[in-house]
Amino acid sequence: MSAPERKGASVAEAGSAPRRAWWTAGAAWLVPGLGHLLLGRRARALLFAVLVFGALAIGVALRGPLLFFEGGFIGKLVTLASMGVGLPYFVLRLSGYHGEALAIGFEYGKAFIATAGLMNLLLVLDAWDIASGRKE
């Protein structure tokens, strides 16, 4: 870990652990990369943000769906995975984007969008672990 990242982490570690962990995890879910940024891991935050937003952007470019509990059991699971991406999911939904079922990249897009959400959920857990002191 680089020196600036370590310094930021020590500043961030000044707060109370459980409460800070909740806030950090919430921020990490809301905006991909924000949790690690708040913890002082700037380089990793940038990399994670690029990866999650990149996967989401590719999924949207392929016209993959942003499901909202449509379909059967798998559709509900995909919805939860897609929601993992946080605020961008709701911004896209509210802006009228739903994907195109007839688009040739529909299924690929679905995989990219769901993966973006799942990656962000793992980042939430990672941010929680760092903020609560379980991980450096």
Partner: protein, 64 residues
Amino acid sequence: MPSHFLLMVVYALLVSVFFTALWRRERRDQVRLFLQLFLGMVVGGLVVAWLMLPFPPGPPTGGP
């Protein structure tokens, strides 16, 4: 739309870099895990595709 293979490679690249950054800190370990994940997904995908070659490509189109 880009080719299936290109999309698979891009997907494998994104996921491999993500897990490498999440799970490893040392550069040597990062390179090793990245190669394991990336090549595992790409080569594994090609092997599965090859194994599926004997199967028909889609639903039956009806008799003559």
